[in-house]
């Protein structure tokens, strides 16, 4: 579905307002019967609108709590309703972002009535406003696909056009002019880069068709934009495509793939305080801080307005949490620079066996982000499914004794780890090359190579692999040497299995 219906869009607007109001009340611990009632009505409307427009995700979501909405269960649980509203909003947003926006700037909107109606019926989102001091900021916020400027006898339209052209990020938005017949002005405007100059009296159909055609061309062009103009990170489309390919690879090779969805907190307030232009600078600096903290092997792209998707391949969840804390610390400087309180809320989702498609992962990340936004902003939330079905960690156990191998192998397989075993040190090094190993449990005396040598070689080959030495050698010099060679933990045989579990957990989670 490319365009959502106007009915659905209107309902969406009401929904957004209600969530904001409802959320505040809920956070204050207040229960308002009116809101519950309104939410019920709205969800009923949305239920029917989503069915008509074929937006089945929304329809199914509401269908789950239909008994509650219809009052068959009596008391309406605010929280359930709110969660349902948020999920619906998220689904609709994903569809509505496909709506093309047309910004019309004129002092005489009557002349554009027919054009606006035709565009809206066609499913376009039309923003019709008079030119004022906030026009540039508004264009920044909305990022319309096309701008229509109605030039007046004082050439105010031309002044606005010059302002747009001077402002880098929005300079590339196509502009169509309307105005009274004046060859000189028309040539000047066209020379400045306007797509067209339509003389008055306007022929509504002509303007409508031209706008549609221009937008089609613009859409095709924007599809090929690789980088986001404001921040320099990947655009949504390209970032998503790259991430999707990487997702398939990670799924196939069973490697790590974690999505961190970050949403800048209170960006609207920041924009109001600093203006849209400065607000964009804040976003750019915010992204710079993030880019500095993550390695080049990872991926970051603009997900939507103030949201960014960070795809991380080389870190575990706990390390990502540490990373976000570091980002927050670095953001203090940006906050001081702009005199604002800059922060972000994050949602994490991990690729595991339960996640089949990239879209599923996005949905999980969004769910955890929304949960964060509606409980305590400024924190990073991990989706529960990511915690339950954590990425399978692989352990390689090296010991000469086949019985200890079988005991440990069955123990840690039952605990959800992937387990490989080897009775020979050299064979173990081969297995390390061929597999994605997170932890090696090794004895100090193994055939083929000494324990300390194996530790050194592992650390040379794969420094990130954790090493736990499980040995009956209890002499201080053995322990000292093994740990100095690169071992992370040393457990003496006989050992407490509970202690071993805890040490393994500490090393690889």
């Amino acid at each position: 579905m490319n365009y959502a219906s106007k009915e659905l869009y209107d309902t969406y607007k009401k929904l957004t307002n209600l969530i904001t109001k409802y959320d505040e009340n809920l956070n204050l611990g207040m229960r308002d019967e009116n809101f519950s009632h309104m939410a019920g009505i709205l969800l009923k409307d949305l239920h029917s609108a989503s069915y008509k427009t074929g937006m089945m995700e929304v329809w199914m979501e509401i269908d789950k709590i239909q008994e509650l909405i219809n009052g068959e269960e009596g008391y309406m649980d605010d929280k359930i309703l709110l969660e349902c509203l948020i999920r619906c909003k998220s689904f609709i947003e994903r569809n509505l972002t496909k709506r093309s926006k047309v910004y019309i700037c004129s002092r005489n909107m009557d002349e554009f009535k027919d054009v606006i109606r035709s565009l809206e019926l066609e499913g376009f989102d039309v923003i019709a406003r008079e030119d004022d001091e906030d026009t540039i900021d508004r264009i920044y916020t909305l990022l319309p696909e096309i701008i229509v400027i109605d030039n007046d006898s004082n050439n105010n339209g031309l002044t606005l056009f010059n302002a747009i052209r001077e402002d880098g990020p929005i300079a590339s938005i196509p502009v169509v002019f309307t105005g009274y017949k004046n060859e000189e002005t028309k040539i000047e405007i066209l020379l400045l880069g306007a797509l067209d100059y339509l003389e008055k009296p306007l022929v509504a159909m002509e303007l409508f068709i031209k706008l549609k055609n221009f937008m089609e061309i613009s859409k095709n062009l924007s599809r090929n934009t690789v980088y986001d103009i404001k921040t320099g990170v990947y655009s949504r489309k390209h970032g998503r495509e790259i991430a999707k390919k990487q997702f398939e690879l990670a799924k196939k090779n069973k490697t790590r793939f974690t999505m961190l969805l970050v949403d800048i907190d209170k960006m609207t307030e920041i924009n109001i305080k600093l203006g849209k232009s400065k607000g964009n600078d804040v976003i750019r600096d915010f992204v710079e801080v993030f880019k500095e903290q993550i390695s080049n092997t990872n991926l970051i792209y603009r997900y939507s307005g103030d949201k960014f998707a960070v795809i991380i391949f080389d870190l575990e969840v706990k390390d990502i949490i540490v990373l976000t804390r570091e980002v927050k610390q670095r953001l203090v400087d940006v906050s001081t620079k702009y005199g604002v309180d800059l922060g972000f809320t994050g949602g994490i989702a991990i690729l595991n066996d339960e996640v089949n498609a990239y879209e599923d992962l996005i949905m999980l990340a969004e769910e955890s982000l929304n949960k964060g936004k509606h409980s305590q902003r400024g924190e990073v939330y991990i989706h529960s499914s990511s915690l339950e079905g954590k990425q399978k960690k692989n352990i390689l156990i090296v010991d000469e004794d086949p019985i200890i191998l079988s005991i440990l192998s069955s123990r840690y397989s039952n605990k959800g780890y992937g387990v490989l075993t080897s009775q020979n040190g050299l064979e173990a090094l081969g297995l390390l090359d061929e597999n994605n190993i997170d932890l090696i449990i090794t004895d100090l005396i193994v055939p083929g190579i000494t324990g300390n040598e194996i530790i050194k070689r592992i650390k040379d080959k794969k420094p990130s692999v954790r090493i736990l030495i499980l040995s009956s050698q209890r002499g201080e010099n053995y322990i000292d040497l093994a740990l100095k060679s690169g071992g992370d933990e040393y457990v003496v045989k006989p050992f407490s299995p509970v202690e071993l579990d805890l040490r393994i957990q500490r090393l690889i989670g």
């Binding site: 019985i403 079988s406 005991i407 407490s496 299995p497 509970v498």
Partner: protein
């Protein structure tokens, strides 16, 4: 006559045939049992592993216990279950070990082994003692004590070792009482047994170093040294001046092992003991204390009339910080006796390798020591 020859041929042939049949039977039974063991292994081992992983989390059910009890009626299955549980007991410590011991008792495995202690076959009895020790069940203590009265050395060793592994102090001490009446095990074996004790070792040493039997007392004193039990060194030090030579030697050795320098004066005093064994042990223990206060007296002992005293003194001198200077001093003197023993100790202890590195040292003193030692070792006159 001819008839007798035929008879003997027939008899001999029958004997050969019977022997052949017996060997064939043994071979077939061996293969059969091996296959049976393999079959049982594939069925039982995963089940035992599962049971053991479960008892970490919960109590074993009566149904699960009954299944194991039925299984162990079969000899091969019993051995498999027993050895697997023993393996776990030996590999694991902590609460799980206590549960595993309980499992070996509840399944009846301990009772099976206790019953076998009454058999006539000494080998089987010794093996059962060993297995009981590995299963660490306190219920087997009295049966093991009884087995100690048997004359066979293997049985004595394994039953006492089993008591040591079980760690029940009273039974273990009683075991030594029994042994003191029939003591035939070597000191080395007994020290090994005491070192293995799994109960409160400190308390054991406190009680046993004063044993009436000086041999047993010295065994415990030496074991306390191996355990490096500093809390008991004061108690041990009393024996340095004991009349009994065994206790005296054990105490000096233990103080050296523990490294308690509070008793350095007593050890120095022991260097003057009339027994050369005491002097030799004291010389070595002083090296372990690594205190430079002992250097002068050790230097003097390089001229002791007994070779071992001289050797141990040299061995200690080179280990004590500042000892290298003493080496230099000795090598520049005329006492050839002392020089030879010192060089011998340097060469045998491995310190010679370190001295080789002094060749290019920026420290002139070290270069001088290198020169003195290598020249003397090479047989040249300094």
């Amino acid at each position: 006559m001819e008839k007798y020859i035929y008879y003997s041929i027939i008899l001999f042939s029958a004997f050969i045939i019977l022997l052949y049949i017996y060997l064939l039977y043994e071979k077939v039974m061996g293969i059969y049992n091996l296959n049976r063991r393999k079959k049982y292994e594939s069925e039982l081992i995963p089940y035992i592993d599962w049971i053991i992983s479960e008892i970490e989390k919960r109590e074993i059910t009566q149904e699960e216990l009954d299944k194991l009890r039925i299984d162990i009626r079969d000899r091969i299955k019993r051995e498999l279950v027993r050895d697997r549980i023993i393996y776990y007991i030996q590999s694991f410590t902590g609460d799980i070990r206590r549960k595993l011991i309980g499992l070996s008792e509840d399944t009846g495995l301990v009772d099976y082994e206790i019953k076998k202690l009454d058999e006539r076959d000494d080998f089987k009895v010794a093996l059962s003692c060993r297995k009981l020790g590995e299963m660490r069940s306190r219920t087997s203590c009295s049966a093991l004590l009884k087995a100690l009265y048997r004359n066979q050395l293997d049985i004595k060793y394994h039953s006492l070792m089993a008591l040591s592994k079980i760690g029940d102090m009273d039974s273990f001490m009683e075991g030594f009482d029994v042994l003191s009446k029939t003591a035939v095990l070597s000191e080395r074996s007994l020290i090994e047994i005491v070192d293995t004790f799994q109960g409160d070792k400190h308390e054991l040493y406190k009680r046993m170093i004063n044993h009436d039997n000086s041999f047993i007392s010295s065994v415990f004193i030496k074991s306390a040294g191996n355990f490096v039990d500093g809390k008991i060194s004061e108690e041990i030090s009393k024996f340095i001046m004991d009349d009994d030579k065994n206790k005296k030697i054990a105490a000096i050795k233990s103080i050296g092992q523990i490294g308690d320098i509070r008793f350095i004066d007593k050890l120095i005093q022991s260097l003057e003991d009339e027994s050369w064994e005491v002097r030799a042990v004291a010389a070595k223990s002083l090296g372990k204390l690594q205190d430079s206060r002992a250097l002068d007296v050790l230097k003097r002992k390089l001229s002791d009339r007994e070779w071992w005293v001289r050797y141990n003194s040299a061995w200690s001198i080179i280990r004590i910080p500042g000892g290298v200077e003493v080496v230099e001093d000795i090598l520049s003197q005329e006492d050839k006796f002392a020089k030879d023993i010192l060089i011998s100790a340097v060469e045998n202890s491995g310190i010679i390798n370190e001295i080789y590195t002094y060749e290019s040292s920026i420290d002139l003193e070290k270069r001088r020591i290198y020169k003195l030692i290598t020249e003397y070792a090479n047989g040249r006159e300094i």
